[in-house]
Symmetry: C2
Subunit: 211 residues, 2 copies
């Protein structure tokens, strides 16, 4: 699909065809397309819990303001952002350094320098780790929502849930920030597609604090 | 451009043609395309400082590990994430509520209920406000990077900068989190385009903490 058409036809839809499941091969292609998103130093601090079973989706729904789309959508994703995804000792962070050395982008002797740089950028307090994790996980999530549209699917990203409830229910380790839920599936034939909502214009987005 | 081609040809490039500027009409179209990104309750807590003047870009570069691309790119964007973008009294948050009432998505009597909900989701501590701001600003930033590619441009998102230095230099109010810098411009003819970096596979992204 043309890029502009993908962007212009994406909506946060409230209806999903409960009879139309998302094939495993489609889900894999979608996630691996989303994984091409950039991230700070390529750390890719994103993980997914994929819920397809009705009972599991209902377990999530009760922590998500009982929104029906959580269980009506054939797939509901819990997006986890690893606040320690930059840290030496983290499986993917260590692999990332090794890959940089392998491609010649980094030298092995710079390992301590690099770890200290990341510590200063992402590890000075809890906020910087949360910002790192959420920022990059949203690059992944946004690419996933657009890729879904390109593949004929629709999505609905959700913030309305109890973070602690979801973490406890699904046994999620503390270092993850539950950054959002995304309902995923096919829009039902004959359903009413919502109109685009208002948006800030260029002049409203542009700021300048020069005295 | 086809969506998959946009995704597959996006790279964080280190080279920009310093002779090829970005027309104002292109920049406006780019930003307004990016602004179609979703956000929690449509709060759109993103703002941009747009630097095109060489002296201004050099003022930024000295806080960004002296990375040459900051001033070589014809445009360098400072992305600001409003940690209070959900809060009653915030200009755009108030407008957003009014727009919801206007379209029938919300009733005026629910104003206090809605403000309390947002307070519980985004205002319980500094972390939740930072997560809200960074998460949504990355939806905007990711759409901007892909839209840039669709329009023949390239980008480089940057984390390597001193947040406090940038805030002081550009007089940025405290409520904003400086979420990233993005260098924007045209890739030079004959330049060496980097290969895609390694990515986590579906099986590496998928997690399950069930006992």
């Amino acid at each position: 699909m043309d890029f502009k058409e993908v962007v212009n036809t994406r909506r946060a839809v409230n209806l999903f065809d409960p009879e139309k499941s998302v094939e495993q091969s489609i889900l894999r292609e979608l996630v691996e397309t989303a994984a091409s998103a950039p991230s700070g130093f390529n750390f890719q601090p994103w993980s997914l819990i994929v819920l397809e079973d009705k009972e599991e989706k209902l377990r999530l729904q009760k922590h998500a303001m009982d929104q029906p789309k959580v269980s009506q959508a054939p797939v509901c994703l819990i997006l986890l952002a690893d606040t320690q995804g930059w840290m030496a000792g983290n499986r993917f962070a260590d692999r990332n350094f090794d890959e940089m050395v392998k491609t010649g982008a980094m030298r092995e002797e710079k390992r301590d320098w690099f770890n200290n740089l990341c510590q200063s950028l992402y590890g000075t307090d809890r906020e910087t780790g949360v910002a790192f994790a959420c920022k990059n996980t949203s690059f992944f999530a946004m690419t996933l929502m657009l890729a879904a549209r390109d593949m004929g699917l629709h999505t609905h990203p959700m913030d309305g849930f109890d973070k602690k409830g979801v973490k406890d229910e699904f046994n999620i380790p503390d270092r993850y920030w539950v950054s959002m839920l995304i309902a995923l599936g096919y829009f039902p034939e004959g359903g009413h597609m919502p109109e685009p909502k208002w948006r800030k214009t260029y002049d409203e987005i542009f700021v300048n604090f020069n005295p």
